[in-house]
């Protein structure tokens, strides 16, 4: 069932969470976030509290808080909804992070396609500053925190945090080698916390209501609520907030999905699952809970969907590392060969499955590491091979 916290119609006033945080010790704030169990809402799921504590412990006079608003995963639009409606909550969460780690400067990195939201963000920042929740000496506490809005240039890979940093620094968005991680050497080489829009938006609620309250929102071992953007062959596409760990079928029910051949969970880089797996939970241990859910009904030829996704990855690969730069076009060629009927059995694709495995373990960043997921899922689950040289989409194969 839906559980609205971030999207709740009865929200605490903007700034209340920050005020409460400012009355706490920074270490206490970090501990609260740690205890809440919240993990990165962008999809990678790194524990936010651990990230903050690493940045807090890094010794530097200058640190940064960066909001990853480069919401580029195909099928994801939850952050857009948050920015449209709750930008002030976002800033509040960033300010709490700033206070917790010892930073006075936040930067929102907004995807190029969301440039029309810049006025929204600026208006919100103005309101918050006007009420003394941003800027110098916030609410007389001596803590200062400013926000800068920066717009990307349209590269998917800039959602990867180190590519994002490169872009912020004015260079091409090429992911960095890690370590060092941004918590020790991030923006301009300074310790930097980078979190997703949704993560920051959850923070004030956690501060106001406590770690335990937040943790208990989730199902079982899962913590908190999660926003999902659902689209495709459903009656009521949109953004839904559910307890983390909810089974996928609950979300499908809310959105109204009757005829389900396949569901792409977690975007192009996520997993493609068949109807038999709809009972699996959306969680960091289950189906990738990044936020994108796309439903395909039985009329859709999934190999064509795969071709579309592979073209996307070929286009978006930054080109730095061999497995991604050269691997994605090879996978696309394999898909094209399948579609043209040139492949008569899945065994003929053995080398491409090897390639898929190697891309996962050797690519420089998440893009290359996950680009082959859809290939593996759709070729093994939704593609039939016949010795006659014609292929058929197999529905619930």
């Amino acid at each position: 069932m839906e559980k609205k916290v971030l999207l709740s119609e009865e929200q605490p006033g903007f700034g209340e969470g920050l005020l409460k945080a400012l009355a706490m010790e920074p270490a206490e704030v970090v501990k609260t976030v740690k205890d809440s169990g919240i993990r990165g809402r962008g999809g990678a799921g790194f524990p936010a509290g651990l990230k903050w504590s690493l940045a807090a412990d890094a010794s530097s006079n200058v640190k940064y808080v960066v909001c990853n608003a480069d919401e580029g995963e195909p099928g994801t639009f939850k952050d857009r909804v948050l920015i449209e409606n709750y930008s002030r909550r976002l800033f509040e969460g960033m300010a709490v992070a700033g206070y917790a780690i010892g930073s006075t400067q936040g930067i929102v990195y907004l995807r190029a396609e969301y440039a029309y939201l810049v006025p929204v963000l600026e208006e919100a920042a103005g309101l918050s500053a006007g009420e003394g929740f941003l800027g110098e000496n916030i609410q007389g506490t001596g803590f200062s925190f400013d926000i800068e809005i920066r717009v990307g240039a349209g590269a998917y890979v800039c959602g990867e945090e180190t590519a994002l940093l490169e872009s912020l620094e004015g260079r091409a968005g090429l992911p960095r080698n890690k370590p060092p991680y941004p918590v020790s050497s991030g923006y301009l080489g300074k310790p930097t916390v980078i979190n997703n829009v949704e993560t920051f938006c959850a923070i004030p609620h956690i501060i106001l209501n406590g770690a335990e309250w937040y943790f208990d929102l989730g199902v079982g071992e899962c913590s908190g609520t999660k926003l999902f953007s659902i689209s495709g062959d459903v009656e009521r596409p949109g953004v839904y907030e559910l307890p983390m760990g909810s089974p996928l079928e609950e979300l499908l029910e809310l959105a109204g999905a009757d005829d389900v051949q396949a569901v792409q969970v977690g975007g192009a880089s996520g997993r493609t699952i068949a109807a038999k797996d709809l009972g699996k939970p959306l969680s960091f241990k289950g189906l990738p809970p990044g936020g994108s859910v796309i439903v395909f009904d039985s009329s859709v030829e999934m190999t064509g969907v795969l071709e579309n996704f592979m073209e996307f990855f070929v286009h978006e690969s930054c080109g730095q590392c061999t497995p991604c730069r050269e691997g994605t076009p090879q996978l696309l060629k394999a898909v094209e060969a399948v579609m043209s009927g040139a492949v008569s059995s899945i065994q003929e694709l053995d080398d491409y499955f090897t390639l898929a495995r190697v891309m996962k373990t050797t690519s420089k960043c998440g893009l290359g590491q996950t680009a082959a997921n859809c290939f593996v899922d759709i070729i093994t689950g939704f593609t039939e091979f016949h010795g006659d040289g014609h292929h058929h989409h197999g529905g619930d194969a």
Partner: protein, 895 residues
């Protein structure tokens, strides 16, 4: 550093903290295949060939960028690693234009080696070719070509251009599989690429290669390690030869250049292959130079020179040795002049470049050479560059300076009338009026003393003459200095503070300091500044005159000067004379000889009648060329040995064909006092012979027999009579050169001079007052002219102008004139212009540029057809006898 325990392929190792996995494996003797990694470059972690498996990690990390951690368990050969590596190489091969059959890199290609190692043949390729069309090769550069179809996007070239050369011209363009290397401005030649070829040097495949094909497979070439024949940096090169032709040059990865070269070093040596090399002796008969035999030529020289000596005395003969030939040859030449002929009149073009360095630094420190080493510059905290357009004249040293700034945060101060390339990296640029160097140097010292920033302990403990120096410097307050030099007073103050407050500061200078009538004064002032701040006798500090020619240091060291024997042992000291009389078995002249400019003057007055020139071209290099030409024309007998029929050789009575540096063995001494080997890579053309062999025959014919089996034997003799070379022998410098002073066989050489105390005992401050240049602009000659070198050509152009690629970069003479002056005078950029001085005039081409200040003109001196030295002033520094090549008053007018 504390050791970190790791397990690699089942064995335990302790490796230094901060090591990468690759470092650790290499240390353990386990090699890991890799393509984008290069030991001289920051790792990129791009090719993913060097991946390893680490217990507990679910990815295979690239070993080149992954640091070791305590108790890490690493497998370099696990099935997952082997599988991944095989996939990686297959992916690269699928995207690679594998035309190894005709690729220049075949046999020298890291991708090819890796495919071989992994046994990936055409049948076992995992993937089909992913490159549908082969992109065109960019052949627009005069020297190199880029074939994108062979590029594996390792980005070594991009990193080398940015981090080693400090140029940053190359970048990765586009994304994904369309990624390519480029300059970002259409074709290669439209960029600022100056053709150094560092990118070729690091390219693992055939993507970047020399534009001119060697015409032979790499395994058929022979590789010979030798020293560059151009500037004083002394780059070590590997020359690839085949069929007695030089076909390719690479930088050798040792001191002092560590693989780097400039465009001339890598692409500018093909002059040795030219068919207009001198191949037989020539004798002037009936006014024309005609072919002759060696025995005829030697006999004629002996007869004529011997005759002049017998008739007019030995001092009627003079000799010019050469900054281009080897130490051994210069030693024999001066020995011949002194012992066989009996005169000390031996000099060479060092007189025109760093004579004032030798006089000035000898007086201040006791030794007239670069105090420190090239590599030390990278770790100076402040570098003051003045009168040196280092990027063009000593390109590889410029890369060291740029790395000091960009990589290590050094502050660079440039003091130069021109907006030279290094200004881009400078924290501060002071633009002085030409010829006002003593004033700004005194100004900086004035500020240092008035702000009490001097190194008092150093001054008191190691120097003398401070008070006398101070009494002069006190007058040069910043306001006064601004009036003389045009440098704003506050910039003088800032420069003084930066220089004095840095932990270690180094001064780099060249001919902008030395080529003045106050050249010695300028050098003394530079020495004053270094001593005042305690910047002598420490690593990365010092006074560092960059010597111009490949062996100008050595030619001076081994006695190619009229007042000193080898090792700067003064002729005037009878004890020295006695020593050399004993060593050479001949009575020697007690009188100092004549300098270059005095020889020229004496030819005209008839005091000198016979002149022997070995590998110099005063018809282009000397100031006031019209005067020099009259002088050479009035010689009774002129002998020239050279590799080409130069402008000077054309005037000779006898021309002797010499072997080039590539055709003989010997040594050069580079600007940092490093004695480096020159190795024979080719047979000399026709009957051309090494200068040392020519000298032996000549000397013998003159009645003083000389005979050596090899240049190594000559060096042994040099070591015997030259204390600073006492321990230098060819067998000791087969790998890396030795820096003098080097007293004996056990001595390791000297990285920097004056450690502990100065060579002369106490460092000597000199009070130096400002004297204006010999010529100042006036209503008749309203512009200031200076001359100098450019990157793409060298000295009198006899070598570089015979290299097509260099001519493609710059084909002829020009004059840099400020755009405002161009406009005012009604000139056109690229159009003709006439430049005249009191001595002569030339016509050349306008290059409109803000490189020069308004009212100033700069003309490179390499070009015979518009010879800048027709214009230059032959007024001399009274001590060093160096002419004022850097300042002349001139007119600029339309043609």
């Amino acid at each position: 550093m504390a050791g970190i325990s790791v397990k690699i392929d089942g064995d335990d190792y302790s490796v230094p903290a901060g090591s990468t996995i690759l470092d650790a494996c290499l240390e353990a003797g386990i090699d890991i295949p890799r393509l984008c990694h290069h030991e001289k470059l920051e790792s990129a972690g791009n090719c993913r060939v060097c991946i390893v498996e680490v217990e507990g990690m679910n990815t295979l990390p690239p070993s080149c960028v992954t640091p070791v951690a305590e108790n890490m368990v690493i497998s370099t050969q696990s099935p997952a690693v082997s599988e991944a590596r095989k996939v990686m190489v297959n992916l690269l091969l699928a995207a690679h234009n594998c035309d190894c059959l005709v690729c220049e890199a075949a046999g020298n290609c890291e991708l090819q080696d890796l495919a071989y190692e992994l046994g990936i043949d055409v049948r076992s390729r995992m993937f089909e070719n992913s490159r549908e069309d082969l992109e065109p090769v960019d052949r627009s550069s005069p020297v190199l070509q880029y074939d994108p179809s062979k590029c594996i996007m390792c980005t070594r070239c991009i990193r080398a251009c940015r981090d080693i050369q400090g140029k940053g011209i190359l970048a990765a363009l586009h994304r994904g599989a369309e990624m390519t290397v480029g300059t970002g401005v259409s074709v290669w030649n439209n960029s600022a690429c100056d053709g150094c070829g560092e990118c070729i040097q690091v390219c693992p495949t055939g993507a970047l290669s020399e534009k001119e094909s060697p015409g032979v497979r790499s395994w058929e070439m022979e590789k010979v390690r030798t020293s560059c024949a151009y500037c004083g940096v002394g780059c070590q090169l590997d020359m690839w030869v085949h069929d007695n032709k030089l076909v390719k040059v690479e930088g050798a990865d040792i001191e002092p250049n560590f693989g780097s070269t400039c465009v001339k070093g890598r692409f500018g040596h093909t002059f040795v292959n030219r068919d207009d090399r001198l191949e037989t002796p020539l004798i002037r008969r009936n006014g024309r130079l005609e072919k002759a035999t060696w025995s005829e030529a030697i006999a004629l020289v002996a007869e004529k020179i011997g005759g002049i000596r017998d008739k007019y005395g030995a001092d009627a003969i003079a000799g010019l040795c050469s900054a281009k030939v080897t130490n051994e040859e210069n030693y024999l030449f001066q020995k011949m002049m002194r012992a066989a002929i009996g005169t000390n009149s031996v000099d060479h073009c060092a007189r025109l470049c760093h004579a004032s360095t030798v006089t000035g630094l000898a007086a201040a420190f006791g030794s007239g050479a670069m105090t420190n080493s090239i590599a030390e510059l990278e770790h100076a905290k402040c570098i003051l560059v003045t009168g040196s357009n280092t990027t063009e004249t000593h390109p590889v040293i410029a890369t060291v300076i740029r790395r000091a700034v960009r990589k290590h945060g050094a502050k660079l101060i440039v003091v130069d009338p021109r907006r030279i390339d290094l200004v881009k990296d400078a924290a501060l640029w002071l633009r002085q009026k030409n010829g006002t160097d003593v004033a700004w140097l005194n100004g900086m010292m004035n500020v240092i003393i008035s702000e009490n920033l001097q190194d008092t302990a150093f001054i008191e403990g190691k120097t003398a003459g401070f008070e006398e120096m101070r009494s002069v410097v006190e007058l040069f307050n910043p306001e006064m200095v601004e009036k003389i030099t045009g440098i704003p007073g506050e910039k003088i103050v800032e420069a003084a503070r930066i220089f004095a407050e840095a932990e270690v500061s180094s001064i780099v200078y060249s001919m902008g300091i030395t080529q003045h009538i106050t050249g010695t004064d300028n050098v003394l002032s530079v020495a004053n500044l270094a001593m005042l701040t305690g910047n002598v006798g420490r690593a990365s500090s010092g006074v560092n005159p960059l010597r111009g020619q490949n062996n100008v240091q050595g030619a001076c060291d081994v006695g190619g000067l009229p007042d000193v024997y080898p090792g700067y042992q003064k002729v005037a000291d009878p004890a020295n004379r006695k020593k050399f009389e004993q060593a050479w078995g001949k009575q020697l002249s007690p009188d100092n000889g004549l300098t270059v400019m005095e020889i020229i003057d004496s030819l005209e007055t008839g005091k000198v009648k016979g002149l022997i020139i070995m590998g110099e071209n005063p018809m282009i290099s000397d100031p006031n060329l019209n005067h020099a030409e009259r002088a050479l024309d009035s010689a009774e007998f002129l002998v020239v040995s050279d590799i080409f029929l130069t402008e000077t050789a054309e005037k000779a009575d006898v021309v002797l064909p010499a072997a080039s540096f590539a055709e003989k063995n010997g040594t050069f001494t580079n600007t940092e006092r490093r004695v480096i080997l020159v190795r024979k890579a080719l047979d000399a053309p026709g009957e051309a012979r090494s200068d040392w062999q020519i000298i032996c025959d000549l000397s013998t014919a003159l009645g003083y027999p000389m005979s050596y089996g090899s240049s190594s034997e000559i060096m042994d003799e040099i070591a015997e009579v030259t204390p600073i070379y006492g321990g230098i022998h060819h067998d000791r410098i087969q790998e890396v050169g030795l820096q003098w002073p080097c007293a004996d066989r056990g001595h390791p050489g000297t990285m920097y001079l004056h450690k502990g105390k100065f060579k002369r005992g106490m460092g000597q401050f000199h009070p130096v007052d400002f004297i204006p240049p010999a010529e100042s602009p006036d209503s008749e000659y309203p512009f200031i002219l200076s001359t100098g070198r450019i990157l793409f050509h060298y000295h009198t152009g006899s070598m570089t102008r015979r290299v097509d690629a260099l001519n493609e970069f710059v084909s002829g003479a020009y004059a840099e004139i400020h755009p405002e002056d161009v406009r005012r005078l009604g000139l056109v950029d690229g159009g003709p212009v006439r430049i005249s001085t009191r001595r002569g005039q030339i016509e050349t081409t306008v290059k409109s540029t803000e490189m020069v200040a308004e009212g100033s003109v700069f003309v490179p001196f390499h070009f015979a057809e518009s010879a800048a030295n027709v214009l230059t002033n032959d007024s001399l520094d009274p001590v060093a006898k160096i002419p004022e090549l850097k300042v002349a008053a001139c007119q600029v007018s339309r043609v």
